[in-house]
């Protein structure tokens, strides 16, 4: 049997690779939206199959490691966390595909407004994803804790985008269908940020043994 540590390292690499692909899907779906680039959006949709395949692969790895090594204590928690991160990443991939589909619909109609806050929101979210996965592979709770405040910034950008779009719709009802697509893009980015927050909270739990899920911000170390 191969050494547990080696297999864990391979699992880390698999999650990082998946995270990299998800990050690029988020980036490209928003870039496709801004550049009205249908081809780029189609690439995101094609990449979903690879992300889905990676999800199945990570699940299989974890189940095998649980069966063969029967880990206890921290190693066991680490594997359970990998399962959860895997679910979060796959869902982020879905949300990126949803944004890419909306980018395609929007590329066929006149632009509603210049997109400034949406790409800003996307780069914040990509950074959160990157840092939360980094925190996971380094088992670094301090790094993980730094992800959490960005979530509030993402929420306030979403609120700003919502109210601007609402105003545009009320002034000109013909933009309603397009504006709703843009609202959902902002909402999807906010959901992706929530998933990265889940990962960061799991890392804090793993390292410090404190469960910060379902607690108010004052408990977020």
């Amino acid at each position: 049997m191969r050494h547990f540590a080696v297999e864990l390292e391979e699992l880390n690499q698999a999650l990082l690779e998946m995270g990299g692909l998800v990050e690029s899907s988020i980036h490209c779906s928003v870039q496709a939206l801004v550049d009205r680039d249908e081809r780029m959006a189609r690439r995101v949709i094609e990449d979903e199959r690879r992300i889905n395949q990676m999800e199945l692969d990570v699940d299989a790895r974890v189940t095998r490691l649980l069966a063969l090594n029967q880990p206890v204590a921290r190693d066991l928690r680490l594997l359970i966390m990998a399962l959860k991160i895997n679910t979060d990443l796959e869902r982020m991939g879905d949300l990126a595909v949803n944004m890419a589909e909306r980018a395609i619909s929007l590329s066929k109609v006149p632009p509603v407004k210049p997109l400034v806050d949406t790409p800003r929101m996307a780069s914040l979210v990509e950074d959160m994803l990157h840092r939360s996965l980094d925190a996971f592979v380094k088992r670094d709770a301090t790094l993980a804790a730094q992800v959490l405040p960005a979530d509030d910034e993402v929420d306030s950008l979403r609120d700003k985008i919502y109210s601007e779009l609402l105003e545009l719709m009320q002034l000109n009802p013909t933009v309603v269908p397009a504006a709703i697509h843009l609202m959902f893009v902002a909402r999807n980015l906010e959901r992706i940020a929530d998933h990265t927050t889940n990962i960061a909270e799991d890392v804090i739990f793993l390292v410090r043994g404190v469960d910060v899920r379902h607690h108010a911000t004052e408990n977020r170390v």
């Binding site: 199959r49 889905n52 395949q53 999800e55 199945l56 699940d59 974890v62 189940t63 649980l66 069966a67 029967q70 206890v72 204590a73 066991l76 928690r77 359970i80 399962l83 959860k84 679910t87 609402l166 719709m169 009320q170 002034l171 009802p173 013909t174 309603v176 269908p177 709703i180 609202m183 469960d211 899920r213 379902h214």
Partner: protein, 219 residues
Amino acid sequence: MRHFEQELEQLKGKLLEMSALVEAAVQRSVAAVAQKDRSAADQVFRDEERINALEMEIDEFAINLLATQQPLAADLRLVVAALKINTDLERMGDLSVTIAERAISLLSEPVIKPMMDIRHMSALVESMVRKSLDAFVANDADMARSVLASDDAVDSLRTASYHELISYMEKDPQNIPQALDLIGITRSLERIADHSTNIAEDVLFLVKGIDVRHHSEVR
């Protein structure tokens, strides 16, 4: 009965308790919308704490089960599925809270359209929640498949309601804020249906050993 089987039964019992809470939360959140019932929304907010506490309790229980019993093969897959189902159920609870919050913002407004489609959608979704968990507890592949079939029905209801709401908004800008809330509500119901579908897919994997995730043609 082996000690492990007893603990497995306990784990299933906890998941059933959680799914009953989630099912009630979905039902109450929609009642809060359709009947303008504030107390139903408040009950959803109160139950969220219990659902969150149960999520953590179930995670701990499953992890302890893995640590102390070291299950293999089918038993191991069952515990792993329980962990995934737990995550799905908690998220459904969150989505009910989102619906209840929108219900509160709709309380003071005159309704722009009858809520029949939302009720219809929610009845379907509640039955998906119940059936997916029943399928898990009873290892029932047929019941799991029936959940997958309902998911398509929910999607078409949602699409129909979406187009209808867009036309309300285009007709009269005053309808926009309320129509956006209603679009959000149908979107949340659709997501709850998706989570039930995840659970049903996990059950099919457990019972038949085939992974139907990401393979719609196998359905």
